[in-house]
C-alpha cells in the first residue's frame, strides 16, 4: 500500500508541475506583460522600468521559478482589469463554485445510484430501460439549452425557484440540476455494471443461499463493493464540474470562478485565467489522488496492479 501510495503521489506532483508550466506559458503567450502592466498612457521608458521591476527581462526558467515560488506562497499576481490581487478574488469566488459543484454532485449521486441499483436488480425491465433512456438522452442534451429550459419551466412559468444569483439555497437548485445532470449517465452506468458484477459473484450467491433477506444482501454486501469505483468516478466528475461550470454560472449569474474565468477570457485578463486553470487543475489532481488512494485502501487488488 505504501509503495503504491508513494508512486501515486509522485505522479500527482509531476502532473501538478506540468500543469503549472502550461499555465505559466498561457500568460506568457498572451502578449507583452510589461506593456499590459504599464497600461495605455505609458511611455517606452515606463514599460522598460516595469520589465526590470517585475523581472520580465530574465530568462524564462528564472521567471518561471520566481512565479512558481510566489504561487506556492499564495500570490497569483494582480488582475489587469480589477487591479486587485487574484488570490483574493479567487478566495471570494471559489466557495460559490465549490458549493455548486458539491450540490450538483449530490444531485447526480442521489439520482443515479438508486437508478443504477434498481436497473441492475431487474435487467431489461421497464425501469432498466427507463434508466438507460435517461442516460442516453442526458448525454445528448446541450447543457446551456437544458439550463435555459429549466429556467423557463421552474423560474418563469411555475415560479417555484429564484432565477439567478446566490442569495439562498434555493438559488442553487436549478444550477445544480443543470450541472449535475451530465454526470448522472456515467454514474448510473457504472453503478449498474458494478452491481450486476457483484450480484453475480459467489459470495452474494452464498449469502442469498444462506437465506439472508434481500435488502440485507443488497446494502450490507453488494452495494458496498459496487460503490468503490463510483466513489472514484464521483471525485473525477466533481473535478469536471468545477471546470464545466462556466456555462451554468453564466446563465444563472452565479459569480463563481467559472463566470470569472469567462469574463476574464473575454477581456484578456490572463493573470486571472492562468490562476483559475492552475487552481482547478490542482483541485482535480488532489481529488483523483484521494480517490485512487481510497480505492486502493478499499480494494486490495488495485495495490498490486
Amino acid at each position: 500500500m505504501l509503495a503504491y501510495a508513494a508512486k501515486r503521489i509522485c505522479l500527482a506532483l509531476l502532473v501538478a508541475l506540468t500543469v503549472s508550466i502550461i499555465s505559466f506559458g498561457l500568460l506568457r503567450l498572451s502578449g507583452d506583460l510589461a506593456q499590459a502592466l504599464a497600461g495605455q498612457s505609458s511611455t517606452a521608458a515606463d514599460v522598460e522600468a516595469l520589465r526590470k521591476a517585475y523581472g520580465l527581462d530574465q530568462p524564462l526558467t528564472v521567471q518561471y521559478l520566481e512565479w512558481a515560488g510566489k504561487v506556492l506562497a499564495g500570490d497569483f499576481g494582480d488582475s489587469f482589469f480589477f487591479k486587485e490581487p487574484v488570490a483574493a478574488m479567487l478566495a471570494q469566488r471559489l466557495p460559490v463554485t465549490m458549493l455548486l459543484g458539491a450540490s450538483a454532485l449530490t444531485f447526480a449521486l442521489v439520482l443515479a445510484v438508486p437508478l443504477g441499483v434498481v436497473a441492475a436488480m431487474r435487467p431489461n425491465s421497464w425501469i432498466d430501460r427507463l434508466a438507460l433512456t435517461l442516460a442516453v438522452l442526458g448525454q445528448a442534451l446541450p447543457s446551456f439549452w437544458f439550463a435555459l429550459m429549466l429556467m423557463i419551466v421552474f423560474g418563469l412559468t411555475l415560479r417555484w425557484l429564484p432565477i439567478s444569483g446566490t442569495g439562498t439555497w434555493q438559488h442553487f437548485v436549478m444550477p445544480s440540476i443543470a450541472l449535475g445532470y451530465y454526470a448522472t449517465p456515467a454514474i448510473m452506468r457504472l453503478t449498474r455494471a458494478g452491481m450486476m458484477e457483484v450480484m453475480a459473484s459467489d459470495y452474494i450467491r452464498t449469502a442469498r443461499a444462506k437465506g439472508l433477506r434481500m435488502p440485507t444482501v443488497l446494502f450490507k454486501h453488494a452495494l458496498r463493493n459496487a460503490v468503490i469505483p463510483v466513489v472514484a468516478l464521483a471525485a473525477v466528475q466533481f473535478g469536471f464540474m468545477l471546470g464545466g461550470s462556466i456555462v451554468i454560472e453564466t446563465i444563472f449569474a452565479l459569480h463563481g470562478v467559472g463566470y470569472l474565468a469567462w469574463e476574464s477570457i473575454t477581456r484578456a485578463d490572463f493573470p486571472v485565467v492562468q490562476a483559475i486553470v492552475l487552481v482547478l487543475a490542482s483541485i482535480y489532481v488532489v481529488l483523483t489522488l484521494l480517490a485512487d488512494l481510497l480505492n486502493a485502501f478499499l480494494d486490495p487488488r488495485i495495490r498490486i496492479a
Partner: protein, 502 residues
C-alpha cells in the same frame, strides 16, 4: 415510491421568490457590463456614470430637461476670464464618512485628477483643467490650461468631488471597494464586477438641484445573460433593466406588469477604420476601400428593422444636437454596385479579408458583416468586452471596428471629435494633421463662429475621407415594473434619485 420522493422534493423546493421592489422599498436593477472599479475616475462603463449620479455630486449640475447649468456643490459660479472660473461652495455639506466638503476637498480633487501621473482613465474628462486654488474655506478658483468652451459641460458631468483625507489614504482601489461621496445615496456594500448596494442618505444637502432621494434602497446586480435579466424582470426579481433590444422591448411592453420606455440618446454608432495604418499596412489605408465600405452598409434598413424607435441615420461624426455638429457633409448612399466598383479600382476586384472588432449589439455587427459580404469583403468578427477592445484600440491593434460613443452625454461636438481625431489621442486612427489643427483652433476658441467653421471643416473632411462611417443614433429601451415612477432622460443617464414608487 420514487414518484413520491420526487413529488416531495419538488414540494420542498416550491418557495415564493423574495418579491423585491415596492414592498421592501428596494429598487433592484440589472446591468450587463461589469464595472471594474466603482471609483468614477477608474472605469469607463456607462454604469459608472449612473452610480456617480447617486453616490457623488459634481460642482455644477445640468438640468437634463432644459440643458441649463445650475450650481450644485458650488453655490454660485462666475467666469473671471477665459481660463478662470470662480466658485462659491456650499457650507455644511458632509461626505458619507462625516468628512466635511469644503474648498480643500474641491481643490484636492481637481488637482489630483488633472495630474496625468494619477492616470485617470478617460483623460479627455479632466485634462483641460490646469489646477485649482483655494481662496477661502468655501471659495475656489479653477484654472484652465487654455480657453475651453465646454468646461461647464464637463464640470457638470465628469468631475465628481472626493473627500480629501479619505481618498489620500485609500486611493482608487479603496474608493472602489468602499465609495464615499456627498451624493443622495450611501454605499453599504459593493463588490467590483458583481453588485453594489446603496441606501438613502438622510443627510443629503437640501439645496441640491438633483432633488432629494425617494427610494430607500438601491441594489445593482451584474447579469451577463439577457434572458436571465428578462426572466428576473418578469418574475419581480429585478425592477428595472436597460439596453433592452428593440424586439424584446416590444414583447416586454405587452406584459401588464411592466412599463417600457425608449429614449434616443447622444450615443452614435460608427465603423472606425485604420486610415493611418496603425495596425499595419492594411487595405483601409486606401480611401477607396473606406468609401466602398461606406457604400456597402445599408444603414437605413438597419435603423428601420433592427434598431427601430427614434433612431436615425447620421452622416457626420457627431450627434445632431451637439454644438458644432452639421449635417452638411458628403453622404454615402447604400450602393453595393458602386462599392464593388470602388473596391476594384482600389485593386481588390476579388474582395478582401479583414478582422472587424465589436463589443455590443452583436446582431447589429453581424448585419454589417452580412452587408459587407455581398460586396466581397469577408469580415471576421472579433467580439470583445468593452474594456479590452478599448485597450486594443489605444494600442493601435484594431484595423476595423464597429463601436459607439456616447460623448459622456456632453452636448458639445468637442466631446466626440477631440477624442477620436484630436492630436495625440489614443483613439485617433486618422492621424490627419489638418484635422488636428482645425480641432485645436475650434476646441480652444471662445468665439462660437470660429468654432463652428472649424468643426464644419473637420466634419466635412472626416466624411470625405471616410475616416469614420457614422451609422445611426442609439435608442435605449428601459423596461421596469409598473410600480415604479421613472422617466428616462435623453442623455442616457438614468437618474434614480428622482424615481419614486407609485
Amino acid at each position: 415510491m420514487n414518484r413520491l420522493i420526487a413529488l416531495a422534493a419538488l414540494a420542498a423546493f416550491a418557495v415564493t421568490p423574495a418579491w423585491a421592489g415596492k414592498k421592501d422599498d428596494t429598487l433592484n436593477f440589472g446591468v450587463y457590463r461589469e464595472v471594474e472599479n466603482y471609483d468614477f475616475y477608474f472605469n469607463t462603463a456607462r454604469e459608472g456614470i449612473l452610480i456617480q449620479q447617486l453616490v457623488w455630486d459634481n460642482l455644477i449640475d445640468r438640468d437634463p430637461r432644459t440643458g441649463e447649468y445650475l450650481p450644485l456643490l458650488a453655490k454660485s459660479f462666475k467666469w473671471i476670464d477665459d481660463v478662470t472660473l470662480e466658485m462659491e461652495l456650499h457650507d455644511g455639506v458632509k461626505f458619507h464618512n462625516g468628512e466635511p466638503f469644503d474648498a480643500d476637498s474641491a481643490v484636492f480633487t481637481i488637482n489630483w485628477v488633472s495630474n496625468p501621473t494619477n492616470k485617470v482613465i478617460t483623460q479627455a474628462n479632466v485634462n483641460w483643467m490646469k489646477n485649482a486654488e483655494k481662496l477661502g474655506p468655501h471659495k475656489i478658483r479653477l484654472h484652465l490650461k487654455q480657453p475651453f468652451p465646454a468646461a461647464l459641460e464637463y464640470l457638470s458631468g465628469t468631475v465628481p468631488m472626493y473627500p480629501k483625507d479619505y481618498y489620500a489614504k485609500v486611493g482608487p482601489q479603496g474608493m472602489g471597494r468602499e465609495p464615499i461621496g456627498t451624493g443622495p445615496y450611501k454605499v453599504v456594500a459593493a463588490k467590483a464586477g458583481d453588485f453594489i448596494t446603496m441606501v438613502k442618505n438622510p443627510d443629503y444637502f437640501k439645496d441640491s438641484t438633483k432633488g432629494q432621494p425617494g427610494i430607500g434602497k438601491i441594489h445593482m446586480r451584474t447579469i451577463r445573460e439577457a434572458n436571465t435579466q428578462f426572466a428576473e424582470l418578469m418574475t419581480g426579481g429585478l425592477d428595472w433593466i436597460w439596453q433592452v433590444p428593440a424586439d424584446q422591448a416590444e414583447k416586454l411592453a405587452a406584459n401588464p406588469r411592466l412599463t417600457v420606455k425608449a429614449a434616443e440618446t447622444m450615443r452614435v454608432g460608427y465603423l472606425g477604420m485604420d486610415a493611418a495604418g496603425r495596425a499595419g499596412d492594411g487595405p483601409l489605408k486606401n480611401v477607396k476601400v473606406r468609401q466602398a465600405i461606406a457604400h456597402a452598409i445599408n444603414r437605413d434598413s438597419m435603423v428601420k428593422n433592427l434598431v427601430k424607435g427614434d433612431s436615425r441615420v447620421v452622416h457626420a461624426a457627431c450627434f445632431p444636437s451637439q454644438f458644432g455638429c452639421t449635417d452638411d457633409v458628403r453622404r454615402y448612399d447604400f450602393d453595393p454596385a458602386r462599392a464593388k466598383a470602388l473596391l476594384a479600382e482600389a485593386g481588390f476586384p476579388n474582395g478582401l479579408d479583414i478582422d472587424i472588432y465589436a463589443y455590443r449589439e452583436r446582431p447589429w455587427t453581424e448585419a454589417v458583416i452580412g452587408d459587407l459580404r455581398t460586396v466581397g469583403i469577408r469580415a471576421r468578427l472579433q467580439y470583445l468586452s468593452y474594456a479590452s477592445l478599448r485597450d486594443k484600440n489605444h494600442a493601435g491593434e484594431t484595423p476595423f471596428f464597429h463601436m459607439t460613443w456616447g460623448s459622456n452625454s456632453i452636448n458639445d461636438v468637442s466631446a466626440i471629435l477631440a477624442v477620436f481625431f484630436g492630436k495625440g489621442m489614443p483613439d485617433d486612427f486618422a492621424r490627419d494633421p489638418e484635422l488636428h489643427e482645425w480641432l485645436r483652433i475650434a476646441d480652444n476658441s471662445v468665439n462660437p463662429d470660429t468654432r463652428k467653421t472649424n468643426y464644419k471643416k473637420a466634419l466635412q473632411k472626416i466624411a470625405e475621407q471616410a475616416y469614420w462611417l457614422p451609422t445611426f443614433t442609439y435608442v435605449v429601451n428601459v423596461a421596469f415594473t409598473r410600480e415604479l415612477d421613472f422617466t428616462p432622460d435623453a442623455d442616457e443617464i438614468p437618474r434614480f434619485v428622482r424615481a419614486r414608487w407609485k
